[in-house]
Symmetry: C2
Subunit: 236 residues, 2 copies
DNA sequence: TAAATAAGTTAGGCTAATCTAACAAATTAA
DNA sequence: TTAATTTGTTAGATTAGCCTAACTTATTTA
Protein backbone atom coordinates (compact mmCIF):
# COMPACT_ATOMS: atom_id res chain seq x y z
CA UNK A 1 0.00 0.00 0.00
CA UNK A 2 1.54 3.31 -1.11
CA UNK A 3 0.64 5.97 1.44
CA UNK A 4 1.03 9.72 1.17
CA UNK A 5 3.53 11.67 3.22
CA UNK A 6 0.65 12.93 5.34
CA UNK A 7 -0.99 9.56 5.92
CA UNK A 8 2.35 8.18 7.04
CA UNK A 9 2.72 11.04 9.51
CA UNK A 10 -0.69 10.32 11.01
CA UNK A 11 0.22 6.67 11.60
CA UNK A 12 3.56 7.61 13.09
CA UNK A 13 1.97 10.21 15.36
CA UNK A 14 -0.58 7.67 16.53
CA UNK A 15 2.16 5.24 17.51
CA UNK A 16 4.18 7.98 19.16
CA UNK A 17 1.30 9.46 21.16
CA UNK A 18 0.15 6.08 22.44
CA UNK A 19 3.71 5.13 23.30
CA UNK A 20 4.43 8.41 25.13
CA UNK A 21 1.19 8.30 27.09
CA UNK A 22 1.48 4.60 27.78
CA UNK A 23 -2.14 4.18 26.67
CA UNK A 24 -2.93 2.52 23.39
CA UNK A 25 -6.18 4.39 22.71
CA UNK A 26 -5.68 7.94 21.48
CA UNK A 27 -8.12 10.85 21.19
CA UNK A 28 -8.76 13.17 18.25
CA UNK A 29 -7.62 16.31 20.08
CA UNK A 30 -4.47 14.70 21.35
CA UNK A 31 -3.52 13.63 17.86
CA UNK A 32 -4.35 17.07 16.48
CA UNK A 33 -1.99 18.72 18.97
CA UNK A 34 0.77 16.27 18.15
CA UNK A 35 0.43 16.92 14.41
CA UNK A 36 -0.08 20.69 14.69
CA UNK A 37 -3.42 20.55 12.88
CA UNK A 38 -7.01 21.12 13.97
CA UNK A 39 -9.22 18.31 15.35
CA UNK A 40 -11.53 18.65 12.33
CA UNK A 41 -8.63 17.78 10.05
CA UNK A 42 -7.76 14.72 12.10
CA UNK A 43 -11.36 13.64 11.90
CA UNK A 44 -11.34 13.71 8.10
CA UNK A 45 -8.11 11.77 7.91
CA UNK A 46 -9.35 9.20 10.41
CA UNK A 47 -12.18 8.31 8.06
CA UNK A 48 -9.72 7.73 5.28
CA UNK A 49 -7.37 5.65 7.41
CA UNK A 50 -10.27 3.59 8.70
CA UNK A 51 -11.40 3.04 5.11
CA UNK A 52 -7.94 1.69 4.36
CA UNK A 53 -8.04 -0.58 7.40
CA UNK A 54 -5.13 1.12 9.15
CA UNK A 55 -6.96 2.29 12.28
CA UNK A 56 -9.76 0.95 14.45
CA UNK A 57 -12.14 3.74 15.25
CA UNK A 58 -15.83 4.40 15.89
CA UNK A 59 -17.55 7.77 16.03
CA UNK A 60 -16.88 9.47 19.39
CA UNK A 61 -14.64 6.56 20.33
CA UNK A 62 -10.91 6.26 20.86
CA UNK A 63 -8.45 5.56 18.07
CA UNK A 64 -6.08 2.60 17.87
CA UNK A 65 -3.81 1.38 15.11
CA UNK A 66 -4.81 -1.84 13.35
CA UNK A 67 -2.17 -4.56 13.02
CA UNK A 68 -1.39 -3.33 9.52
CA UNK A 69 -1.31 0.30 10.65
CA UNK A 70 1.06 -0.53 13.45
CA UNK A 71 3.33 -2.42 11.10
CA UNK A 72 3.58 0.57 8.78
CA UNK A 73 4.10 3.02 11.64
CA UNK A 74 6.87 0.84 13.04
CA UNK A 75 8.51 0.70 9.63
CA UNK A 76 8.52 4.51 9.47
CA UNK A 77 10.09 4.66 12.94
CA UNK A 78 12.67 2.16 11.72
CA UNK A 79 13.55 4.37 8.77
CA UNK A 80 13.66 7.49 10.91
CA UNK A 81 16.05 5.98 13.42
CA UNK A 82 18.26 4.37 10.79
CA UNK A 83 18.63 7.72 9.04
CA UNK A 84 19.40 9.44 12.32
CA UNK A 85 22.11 6.89 12.94
CA UNK A 86 23.49 7.41 9.45
CA UNK A 87 23.60 11.18 9.85
CA UNK A 88 25.28 10.91 13.23
CA UNK A 89 27.72 8.11 12.55
CA UNK A 90 28.66 8.70 8.94
CA UNK A 91 28.03 12.35 8.19
CA UNK A 92 29.14 13.79 11.51
CA UNK A 93 25.88 15.50 12.36
CA UNK A 94 25.51 16.33 16.04
CA UNK A 95 22.73 14.54 17.89
CA UNK A 96 20.60 17.67 18.08
CA UNK A 97 20.66 18.09 14.27
CA UNK A 98 19.59 14.64 13.12
CA UNK A 99 15.89 14.67 13.97
CA UNK A 100 14.62 17.30 11.51
CA UNK A 101 16.40 15.84 8.51
CA UNK A 102 15.31 12.31 9.45
CA UNK A 103 11.71 13.58 9.50
CA UNK A 104 12.08 14.06 5.76
CA UNK A 105 14.19 11.01 4.98
CA UNK A 106 11.79 8.63 6.74
CA UNK A 107 9.30 9.10 3.89
CA UNK A 108 11.56 7.83 1.11
CA UNK A 109 9.97 4.73 -0.40
CA UNK A 110 12.49 2.00 -1.12
CA UNK A 111 12.68 -1.30 0.70
CA UNK A 112 16.07 -1.92 -0.81
CA UNK A 113 17.40 1.40 0.44
CA UNK A 114 16.34 0.66 4.00
CA UNK A 115 17.89 -2.81 4.00
CA UNK A 116 21.12 -1.59 2.41
CA UNK A 117 21.35 1.31 4.84
CA UNK A 118 20.78 -1.04 7.77
CA UNK A 119 23.61 -3.25 6.55
CA UNK A 120 25.88 -0.28 5.86
CA UNK A 121 25.42 0.81 9.48
CA UNK A 122 26.05 -2.76 10.66
CA UNK A 123 22.52 -3.37 11.93
CA UNK A 124 22.43 -0.85 14.78
CA UNK A 125 20.03 -1.52 17.67
CA UNK A 126 19.83 2.01 19.07
CA UNK A 127 19.81 5.46 17.48
CA UNK A 128 21.85 8.50 18.64
CA UNK A 129 19.17 9.36 21.22
CA UNK A 130 19.18 5.88 22.72
CA UNK A 131 15.89 4.83 21.14
CA UNK A 132 15.66 1.26 19.86
CA UNK A 133 15.64 0.71 16.10
CA UNK A 134 13.06 -1.86 14.93
CA UNK A 135 14.65 -4.59 12.80
CA UNK A 136 13.39 -5.89 9.43
CA UNK A 137 10.65 -7.77 11.26
CA UNK A 138 9.58 -4.78 13.33
CA UNK A 139 11.09 -6.20 16.50
CA UNK A 140 13.01 -3.95 18.86
CA UNK A 141 15.11 -4.20 21.98
CA UNK A 142 13.12 -3.17 25.01
CA UNK A 143 14.90 -1.39 27.82
CA UNK A 144 13.55 -1.30 31.37
CA UNK A 145 14.28 2.34 31.91
CA UNK A 146 12.86 5.07 34.10
CA UNK A 147 13.22 8.83 34.11
CA UNK A 148 15.85 10.74 36.01
CA UNK A 149 13.12 12.33 38.11
CA UNK A 150 12.21 8.91 39.51
CA UNK A 151 15.68 8.26 40.90
CA UNK A 152 15.94 8.62 44.68
CA UNK A 153 18.18 11.28 46.24
CA UNK A 154 21.63 9.83 46.87
CA UNK A 155 21.14 7.31 44.10
CA UNK A 156 23.12 6.95 40.93
CA UNK A 157 22.20 5.76 37.47
CA UNK A 158 23.22 5.72 33.85
CA UNK A 159 21.59 7.79 31.10
CA UNK A 160 20.43 5.54 28.25
CA UNK A 161 18.09 7.73 26.22
CA UNK A 162 16.26 11.05 25.96
CA UNK A 163 12.51 11.43 25.66
CA UNK A 164 12.53 14.84 23.93
CA UNK A 165 14.41 14.90 20.61
CA UNK A 166 14.19 18.65 20.00
CA UNK A 167 17.45 20.42 19.33
CA UNK A 168 16.87 22.97 22.10
CA UNK A 169 16.57 20.22 24.71
CA UNK A 170 19.49 18.23 23.35
CA UNK A 171 21.76 21.27 23.33
CA UNK A 172 20.84 21.82 26.96
CA UNK A 173 21.74 18.22 27.78
CA UNK A 174 25.17 18.69 26.20
CA UNK A 175 25.61 21.93 28.14
CA UNK A 176 25.14 20.04 31.41
CA UNK A 177 27.99 17.78 30.32
CA UNK A 178 25.66 14.86 29.77
CA UNK A 179 25.68 12.29 26.99
CA UNK A 180 24.50 8.74 26.33
CA UNK A 181 25.84 6.16 28.82
CA UNK A 182 27.10 8.79 31.25
CA UNK A 183 26.87 8.22 35.01
CA UNK A 184 24.61 10.53 36.96
CA UNK A 185 24.63 11.00 40.74
CA UNK A 186 21.53 12.58 42.20
CA UNK A 187 22.84 14.73 45.06
CA UNK A 188 19.73 16.52 46.27
CA UNK A 189 16.17 17.41 45.41
CA UNK A 190 14.29 20.59 46.35
CA UNK A 191 11.05 19.77 48.12
CA UNK A 192 9.21 22.82 46.75
CA UNK A 193 9.83 22.67 42.99
CA UNK A 194 11.65 19.35 42.53
CA UNK A 195 14.83 21.04 41.29
CA UNK A 196 17.57 18.42 41.24
CA UNK A 197 21.26 18.81 41.83
CA UNK A 198 23.07 16.22 39.77
CA UNK A 199 26.70 15.39 39.19
CA UNK A 200 28.06 14.21 35.86
CA UNK A 201 31.79 13.55 35.37
CA UNK A 202 32.51 15.70 38.41
CA UNK A 203 30.40 18.59 37.13
CA UNK A 204 27.47 19.65 39.34
CA UNK A 205 24.34 21.17 37.81
CA UNK A 206 20.85 22.13 38.92
CA UNK A 207 18.13 20.92 36.60
CA UNK A 208 14.36 21.28 36.56
CA UNK A 209 11.72 18.60 36.96
CA UNK A 210 10.88 19.03 33.27
CA UNK A 211 14.49 18.36 32.33
CA UNK A 212 14.66 15.28 34.55
CA UNK A 213 11.41 13.94 33.09
CA UNK A 214 13.05 13.86 29.68
CA UNK A 215 16.15 11.89 30.63
CA UNK A 216 15.85 8.10 30.62
CA UNK A 217 18.13 6.13 32.91
CA UNK A 218 18.78 2.58 34.10
CA UNK A 219 20.26 1.34 37.35
CA UNK A 220 23.62 -0.40 37.21
CA UNK A 221 22.15 -3.84 37.41
CA UNK A 222 19.60 -3.48 34.68
CA UNK A 223 20.27 -5.22 31.42
CA UNK A 224 18.60 -4.63 28.11
CA UNK A 225 15.52 -6.80 27.64
CA UNK A 226 15.83 -8.57 30.98
CA UNK A 227 14.25 -8.27 34.41
CA UNK A 228 16.73 -6.50 36.66
CA UNK A 229 18.26 -8.82 39.29
CA UNK A 230 18.68 -5.91 41.68
CA UNK A 231 15.84 -6.16 44.20
CA UNK A 232 16.23 -2.44 44.95
CA UNK A 233 15.48 -1.62 41.33
CA UNK A 234 11.98 -0.27 40.82
CA UNK A 235 11.84 -1.13 37.13
CA UNK A 236 9.65 -3.97 35.99
CA UNK B 1 12.72 30.15 -1.10
CA UNK B 2 11.08 26.91 0.00
CA UNK B 3 9.60 25.20 -3.08
CA UNK B 4 7.22 22.27 -3.25
CA UNK B 5 8.25 18.88 -4.56
CA UNK B 6 6.27 19.62 -7.73
CA UNK B 7 7.70 23.09 -8.33
CA UNK B 8 11.19 21.66 -7.98
CA UNK B 9 10.37 19.00 -10.55
CA UNK B 10 9.21 21.61 -13.04
CA UNK B 11 12.45 23.56 -12.71
CA UNK B 12 14.51 20.40 -13.04
CA UNK B 13 12.54 19.29 -16.12
CA UNK B 14 13.03 22.70 -17.69
CA UNK B 15 16.80 22.45 -17.27
CA UNK B 16 16.84 18.87 -18.48
CA UNK B 17 14.70 19.47 -21.57
CA UNK B 18 16.71 22.51 -22.64
CA UNK B 19 19.95 20.64 -22.03
CA UNK B 20 18.84 17.54 -23.95
CA UNK B 21 17.54 19.54 -26.90
CA UNK B 22 20.49 21.92 -26.88
CA UNK B 23 18.05 24.83 -27.07
CA UNK B 24 17.48 27.02 -24.06
CA UNK B 25 13.89 27.98 -24.89
CA UNK B 26 11.36 25.26 -24.10
CA UNK B 27 7.71 24.85 -25.17
CA UNK B 28 4.70 24.05 -23.02
CA UNK B 29 3.95 20.75 -24.78
CA UNK B 30 7.53 19.60 -24.60
CA UNK B 31 7.60 20.20 -20.87
CA UNK B 32 4.25 18.48 -20.42
CA UNK B 33 5.56 15.33 -22.13
CA UNK B 34 8.69 15.34 -20.03
CA UNK B 35 6.69 15.62 -16.79
CA UNK B 36 3.92 13.21 -17.84
CA UNK B 37 1.21 15.84 -17.31
CA UNK B 38 -1.10 17.72 -19.69
CA UNK B 39 -0.13 21.04 -21.30
CA UNK B 40 -2.92 22.79 -19.38
CA UNK B 41 -1.30 21.76 -16.12
CA UNK B 42 2.06 23.10 -17.22
CA UNK B 43 0.38 26.36 -18.12
CA UNK B 44 -1.01 26.78 -14.61
CA UNK B 45 2.34 26.03 -13.01
CA UNK B 46 4.16 28.40 -15.36
CA UNK B 47 2.09 31.28 -14.04
CA UNK B 48 3.08 30.41 -10.52
CA UNK B 49 6.76 30.02 -11.36
CA UNK B 50 6.74 33.31 -13.26
CA UNK B 51 5.11 34.98 -10.27
CA UNK B 52 8.00 33.70 -8.14
CA UNK B 53 10.55 34.98 -10.65
CA UNK B 54 11.89 31.52 -11.49
CA UNK B 55 11.04 31.48 -15.21
CA UNK B 56 10.92 34.05 -17.99
CA UNK B 57 7.79 33.54 -20.00
CA UNK B 58 5.22 35.49 -22.00
CA UNK B 59 1.90 34.22 -23.28
CA UNK B 60 2.37 32.05 -26.40
CA UNK B 61 6.12 32.51 -26.01
CA UNK B 62 8.92 30.12 -25.13
CA UNK B 63 9.94 29.34 -21.57
CA UNK B 64 13.41 29.89 -20.10
CA UNK B 65 14.69 29.62 -16.56
CA UNK B 66 15.60 32.87 -14.81
CA UNK B 67 19.03 33.08 -13.17
CA UNK B 68 17.44 32.17 -9.83
CA UNK B 69 15.45 29.32 -11.42
CA UNK B 70 18.55 27.92 -13.04
CA UNK B 71 20.44 28.07 -9.78
CA UNK B 72 17.75 26.09 -8.00
CA UNK B 73 17.43 23.56 -10.83
CA UNK B 74 21.20 23.04 -10.82
CA UNK B 75 21.14 22.49 -7.09
CA UNK B 76 18.51 19.79 -7.49
CA UNK B 77 20.64 18.11 -10.16
CA UNK B 78 23.56 18.33 -7.75
CA UNK B 79 21.57 16.58 -5.04
CA UNK B 80 20.28 13.94 -7.46
CA UNK B 81 23.75 13.03 -8.69
CA UNK B 82 25.32 13.07 -5.25
CA UNK B 83 22.66 10.68 -3.99
CA UNK B 84 23.15 8.42 -7.02
CA UNK B 85 26.85 8.33 -6.25
CA UNK B 86 26.14 7.51 -2.61
CA UNK B 87 23.79 4.68 -3.48
CA UNK B 88 26.24 3.25 -5.98
CA UNK B 89 29.48 3.70 -4.07
CA UNK B 90 28.40 3.15 -0.50
CA UNK B 91 25.24 1.07 -0.55
CA UNK B 92 26.17 -1.19 -3.46
CA UNK B 93 23.20 -0.34 -5.63
CA UNK B 94 23.73 -1.21 -9.29
CA UNK B 95 23.80 1.70 -11.72
CA UNK B 96 20.36 0.87 -13.11
CA UNK B 97 18.77 1.07 -9.63
CA UNK B 98 20.03 4.44 -8.44
CA UNK B 99 17.93 6.81 -10.54
CA UNK B 100 14.46 6.13 -9.12
CA UNK B 101 15.53 6.41 -5.49
CA UNK B 102 17.55 9.56 -6.22
CA UNK B 103 14.39 11.09 -7.73
CA UNK B 104 12.99 11.04 -4.21
CA UNK B 105 16.13 11.91 -2.29
CA UNK B 106 16.84 15.00 -4.42
CA UNK B 107 13.90 16.76 -2.75
CA UNK B 108 15.24 16.54 0.80
CA UNK B 109 15.77 20.07 2.09
CA UNK B 110 19.01 20.44 4.05
CA UNK B 111 22.01 22.41 2.92
CA UNK B 112 24.07 20.77 5.61
CA UNK B 113 23.11 17.30 4.45
CA UNK B 114 24.21 18.04 0.89
CA UNK B 115 27.55 19.48 1.94
CA UNK B 116 28.25 16.64 4.36
CA UNK B 117 27.28 14.04 1.80
CA UNK B 118 29.55 15.69 -0.78
CA UNK B 119 32.44 15.53 1.67
CA UNK B 120 31.64 11.95 2.68
CA UNK B 121 31.87 10.96 -0.99
CA UNK B 122 35.13 12.92 -1.33
CA UNK B 123 33.71 15.57 -3.66
CA UNK B 124 32.94 13.41 -6.68
CA UNK B 125 32.90 15.10 -10.10
CA UNK B 126 30.85 12.50 -11.98
CA UNK B 127 27.94 10.27 -11.04
CA UNK B 128 27.60 6.53 -11.83
CA UNK B 129 26.20 7.36 -15.28
CA UNK B 130 29.11 9.64 -16.17
CA UNK B 131 27.14 12.86 -15.69
CA UNK B 132 28.97 15.76 -14.08
CA UNK B 133 28.01 16.74 -10.52
CA UNK B 134 27.68 20.50 -9.97
CA UNK B 135 29.82 21.68 -7.05
CA UNK B 136 28.68 23.96 -4.20
CA UNK B 137 28.84 26.91 -6.56
CA UNK B 138 26.84 25.19 -9.30
CA UNK B 139 29.92 24.74 -11.49
CA UNK B 140 30.46 21.47 -13.31
CA UNK B 141 33.10 19.76 -15.43
CA UNK B 142 32.16 19.95 -19.08
CA UNK B 143 33.10 17.05 -21.33
CA UNK B 144 33.35 17.42 -25.09
CA UNK B 145 31.56 14.21 -25.84
CA UNK B 146 29.59 12.86 -28.79
CA UNK B 147 27.26 9.93 -29.21
CA UNK B 148 28.34 6.50 -30.33
CA UNK B 149 26.22 6.89 -33.47
CA UNK B 150 28.45 9.77 -34.57
CA UNK B 151 31.63 7.69 -34.52
CA UNK B 152 32.89 6.71 -37.99
CA UNK B 153 33.06 3.05 -39.04
CA UNK B 154 36.48 1.65 -38.18
CA UNK B 155 36.91 4.23 -35.43
CA UNK B 156 37.30 3.58 -31.75
CA UNK B 157 36.32 5.56 -28.71
CA UNK B 158 35.73 5.40 -24.97
CA UNK B 159 32.31 5.42 -23.32
CA UNK B 160 32.08 8.22 -20.77
CA UNK B 161 28.37 8.55 -20.05
CA UNK B 162 24.85 7.45 -20.94
CA UNK B 163 22.06 9.76 -22.03
CA UNK B 164 19.16 7.55 -20.93
CA UNK B 165 19.17 6.71 -17.22
CA UNK B 166 16.26 4.27 -17.28
CA UNK B 167 16.92 0.86 -15.77
CA UNK B 168 15.79 -0.97 -18.90
CA UNK B 169 18.37 0.83 -21.01
CA UNK B 170 21.13 0.45 -18.43
CA UNK B 171 20.50 -3.26 -18.06
CA UNK B 172 20.82 -3.57 -21.83
CA UNK B 173 24.14 -1.71 -21.71
CA UNK B 174 25.47 -4.15 -19.13
CA UNK B 175 24.24 -7.06 -21.23
CA UNK B 176 26.36 -5.86 -24.15
CA UNK B 177 29.36 -6.00 -21.80
CA UNK B 178 29.63 -2.23 -21.70
CA UNK B 179 30.41 0.00 -18.74
CA UNK B 180 31.86 3.43 -18.03
CA UNK B 181 35.33 4.03 -19.48
CA UNK B 182 35.22 0.92 -21.67
CA UNK B 183 36.79 0.97 -25.14
CA UNK B 184 34.44 0.55 -28.09
CA UNK B 185 35.46 -0.34 -31.64
CA UNK B 186 32.92 0.43 -34.32
CA UNK B 187 33.29 -2.43 -36.79
CA UNK B 188 30.51 -1.76 -39.27
CA UNK B 189 27.31 0.13 -39.85
CA UNK B 190 24.27 -1.00 -41.86
CA UNK B 191 23.37 1.54 -44.53
CA UNK B 192 19.64 0.82 -44.38
CA UNK B 193 18.80 0.99 -40.65
CA UNK B 194 22.07 2.22 -39.08
CA UNK B 195 22.53 -0.97 -37.08
CA UNK B 196 26.07 -0.94 -35.68
CA UNK B 197 28.37 -3.83 -34.97
CA UNK B 198 30.58 -2.89 -32.05
CA UNK B 199 33.28 -4.66 -30.11
CA UNK B 200 33.77 -4.27 -26.36
CA UNK B 201 36.45 -6.25 -24.54
CA UNK B 202 36.53 -8.73 -27.40
CA UNK B 203 32.75 -9.20 -27.39
CA UNK B 204 30.94 -8.26 -30.60
CA UNK B 205 27.33 -7.02 -30.53
CA UNK B 206 24.83 -5.50 -32.92
CA UNK B 207 23.09 -2.44 -31.55
CA UNK B 208 20.40 -0.15 -32.90
CA UNK B 209 20.67 3.51 -33.81
CA UNK B 210 18.55 4.30 -30.75
CA UNK B 211 21.00 2.47 -28.51
CA UNK B 212 23.99 4.25 -30.06
CA UNK B 213 22.28 7.63 -29.64
CA UNK B 214 22.18 7.06 -25.90
CA UNK B 215 25.84 6.23 -25.41
CA UNK B 216 28.23 9.17 -24.95
CA UNK B 217 31.85 8.70 -25.97
CA UNK B 218 35.07 10.67 -26.33
CA UNK B 219 37.99 10.08 -28.64
CA UNK B 220 41.30 9.09 -27.08
CA UNK B 221 42.73 12.55 -27.31
CA UNK B 222 39.88 14.42 -25.73
CA UNK B 223 40.37 15.68 -22.22
CA UNK B 224 37.72 16.87 -19.86
CA UNK B 225 37.07 20.59 -20.18
CA UNK B 226 39.64 21.17 -22.91
CA UNK B 227 39.56 21.53 -26.65
CA UNK B 228 40.74 18.25 -28.13
CA UNK B 229 44.23 18.47 -29.71
CA UNK B 230 43.34 15.76 -32.21
CA UNK B 231 42.54 17.52 -35.48
CA UNK B 232 40.53 14.49 -36.58
CA UNK B 233 38.23 14.94 -33.58
CA UNK B 234 34.92 16.44 -34.50
CA UNK B 235 34.13 17.71 -30.99
CA UNK B 236 34.24 21.40 -30.34
C1' DT C 1 -1.51 32.59 -49.11
C1' DA C 2 -5.18 29.94 -47.44
C1' DA C 3 -6.14 25.67 -45.26
C1' DA C 4 -4.55 22.19 -42.23
C1' DT C 5 -1.99 21.00 -38.27
C1' DA C 6 0.47 21.87 -34.11
C1' DA C 7 1.08 24.39 -30.00
C1' DG C 8 -0.66 26.99 -26.31
C1' DT C 9 -4.56 28.96 -23.37
C1' DT C 10 -8.86 29.27 -20.76
C1' DA C 11 -12.80 27.75 -18.22
C1' DG C 12 -14.60 24.74 -15.22
C1' DG C 13 -14.17 20.53 -12.41
C1' DC C 14 -11.89 17.04 -9.23
C1' DT C 15 -9.23 15.35 -5.01
C1' DA C 16 -6.26 15.73 -0.88
C1' DA C 17 -5.33 18.18 2.98
C1' DT C 18 -6.16 21.88 5.36
C1' DC C 19 -9.13 25.55 7.71
C1' DT C 20 -13.29 28.02 10.57
C1' DA C 21 -17.66 28.07 12.66
C1' DA C 22 -21.35 25.78 14.45
C1' DC C 23 -23.08 21.91 16.60
C1' DA C 24 -23.36 17.30 19.31
C1' DA C 25 -21.77 13.99 22.63
C1' DA C 26 -19.22 12.73 26.63
C1' DT C 27 -17.14 13.78 30.84
C1' DT C 28 -16.44 16.34 35.03
C1' DA C 29 -17.78 19.04 38.76
C1' DA C 30 -20.97 21.56 41.54
C1' DT D 1 -28.26 15.03 38.45
C1' DT D 2 -28.03 19.02 36.16
C1' DA D 3 -24.81 22.47 34.42
C1' DA D 4 -20.32 23.52 32.75
C1' DT D 5 -16.49 22.03 30.32
C1' DT D 6 -14.07 19.26 27.29
C1' DT D 7 -13.91 16.53 23.33
C1' DG D 8 -15.36 15.20 18.89
C1' DT D 9 -18.16 15.94 14.47
C1' DT D 10 -20.20 18.20 10.47
C1' DA D 11 -20.75 21.59 6.92
C1' DG D 12 -18.79 24.57 3.94
C1' DA D 13 -14.59 27.03 2.17
C1' DT D 14 -9.69 27.22 0.41
C1' DT D 15 -5.36 25.92 -2.05
C1' DA D 16 -2.23 23.05 -4.92
C1' DG D 17 -1.92 20.17 -8.55
C1' DC D 18 -4.09 17.83 -11.71
C1' DC D 19 -7.75 16.89 -15.45
C1' DT D 20 -11.01 17.51 -20.01
C1' DA D 21 -13.15 20.16 -23.46
C1' DA D 22 -13.30 24.07 -26.07
C1' DC D 23 -10.99 27.69 -27.80
C1' DT D 24 -7.04 30.77 -29.82
C1' DT D 25 -2.63 31.59 -31.84
C1' DA D 26 1.32 30.06 -34.44
C1' DT D 27 3.43 27.28 -37.84
C1' DT D 28 3.59 24.31 -41.72
C1' DT D 29 2.37 22.75 -46.13
C1' DA D 30 -0.15 22.29 -50.36
Amino acid sequence: MQLSYTEENYLKALLKVSFDSGIEAVGTNELAISLFVKPATVNDMLKKLKEKGLVDYEKYGKITLSAEGKKIATYIIRKHRLWETFLYEKLEFSWDEVHDVAEQLEHIHSQKLVDKLDKFLDFPEFDPHGDPIPNRLGELKVQFKKTLSEVAVGGSCKMVAVKDNSSSFLQYVVQVGLGLNNEINVLSKQEYDAILVIEVNGLKSSVSQKFADNIFVVCHHCEVGKICPNTQCTFS
